[in-house]
Symmetry: C2
Subunit: 227 residues, 2 copies
DNA sequence: CATCAAATCTGACGCCGCATCAGAAAGTCT
DNA sequence: AGACTTTCTGATGCGGCGTCAGATTTGATG
């Protein structure tokens, strides 16, 4: 089990996050401001150029500072991306509210699925560049990014799994976490490849409709033939 | 402006692809052999190190040649990855056979879905490093890679869409291509994040089971409540 | 088989981004 | 103001990128 060494600085109520600079000392006001400026410039640049073309030099130029300053706060390029991703991931926790305690049966169930899908698509749209990088680096196998991605989706998955359990009771013949994971995992996929569908003349609102149905089916578990 | 000079050599039935070297000339036997050697070394290296760490130097070292030779056949690192991806994508066309002309209703339908899922997972396993890069660069927005990904999945999607149409007739109230796109798009997602599920103690065979059901439902389209 | 032109390969080079360090500048306390 | 800490930066060595002129191999020809 990969120990989470990231101190999850976003978790509310915890003790103050250390957030040390590379030399081990705790930055003061000005330092934190500069650090934050670097993070924001990174997000901005990410929106306009693909991640693999992003250079440390670009970030420092945009922030009006020098390369050495960058390395004061981040050990390398990936580390700042990690900070960016973490910021976005905690934002994503709000999506859990679209799952927990909703109605999932019958007519209302379709409505809940609809809100979930729309909420996710909207979330993706506003955070597109960042989420793309997160997806990118986690599929590539970087544990730190995969961890963040997992944490982000884990809340949603657990919530949806418990809804599935509530709906199907002990009748469900597939692990609720697995089904929830499949459904939740589908969402970034769809949102991310939206352009791909449109390039093929598949109207995206029809894809949206398909996702809604798949979620509805996944949660309610219509009977399937035995093998 | 980077002119797309890649003549899409995968398209069957077309005239023989020129496959020129960077200087515009058509390579002979020996040239093609070294080119192929470079491609194969790239695939091999991709299996052991993440794509962003892959250097041209590494490839040429592995192939026992010099950097200049590399640039004789590929304008840059991405171009060789493009060749690698193209090779894999045409391989993937065999998966269409797991869709076309299968039974999708009732008991046999579950079997077909099962074969499709297993076939895809297996395909992914054997081509993992390459497909990861393909997914990576296409989500990043590179048109050339997205094109390849689309061509690879397009065959499957069209096949599945026509099966959906055959099963549901004019009853289906969602665009078959959209539903097929959603289902097919789900597959790389699942296969790619297999490690993610296991890190979370979700048994992957349960995820597999979920995918099978989702495909079954997607194709057969159980009734859902009206809004 | 000796010759030569085309094809293929390579060593060496300039360029640029990475990452570091010593020291300058700015801020803070007494 | 003086002394100390925090923050920032110019200069620098290193390593990969991509190019060129020229060396080496191939194989067609007389």
């Amino acid at each position: 089990m990969p120990k989470s060494d990231a101190p999850s600085p976003s978790r509310a109520g915890r003790a103050a996050p250390p957030l040390r600079a590379v030399d081990g000392r705790v930055p003061g006001r000005r330092g934190l401001a500069t650090r934050q400026r670097l993070v924001e410039c990174t997000i901005e640049l990410l929106a306009s150029s693909p991640y693999r073309d992003l250079k440390v030099t670009d970030i420092t130029r945009a922030a009006g500072t020098s390369p050495a300053t960058f390395y004061q706060y981040f050990v390398d390029l990936e580390t700042v991306l990690l900070a960016v991703a973490e910021q976005t991931a905690t934002d994503g926790q709000q999506l859990v509210e679209l799952i927990k305690g909703q109605q999932w049966k019958g007519n209302a169930g379709i409505g809940s699925a609809e809100r979930l899908v729309d909420g996710f698509i909207d979330f993706w749209r506003t955070h597109r560049p960042t989420l793309r990088v997160l997806d990118l680096l986690s599929t590539e196998g970087d544990r730190r990014f995969r961890q963040i991605r997992v944490v982000m989706l884990n809340g949603m998955t657990k919530a949806l799994a418990s809804e599935i359990e509530a709906v199907q009771g002990s009748d469900c013949d597939v692990d609720p976490m697995a089904m929830a994971g499949a459904l939740i995992g589908m969402l970034p996929q769809m949102a991310g490849h939206q352009g791909g569908f449109e390039a093929w003349d598949i109207p995206f609102d029809q894809v949206r409709e398909s996702m809604i149905r798949l979620i509805y089916w996944g949660v309610n578990g219509p009977k399937v033939p035995k093998r």
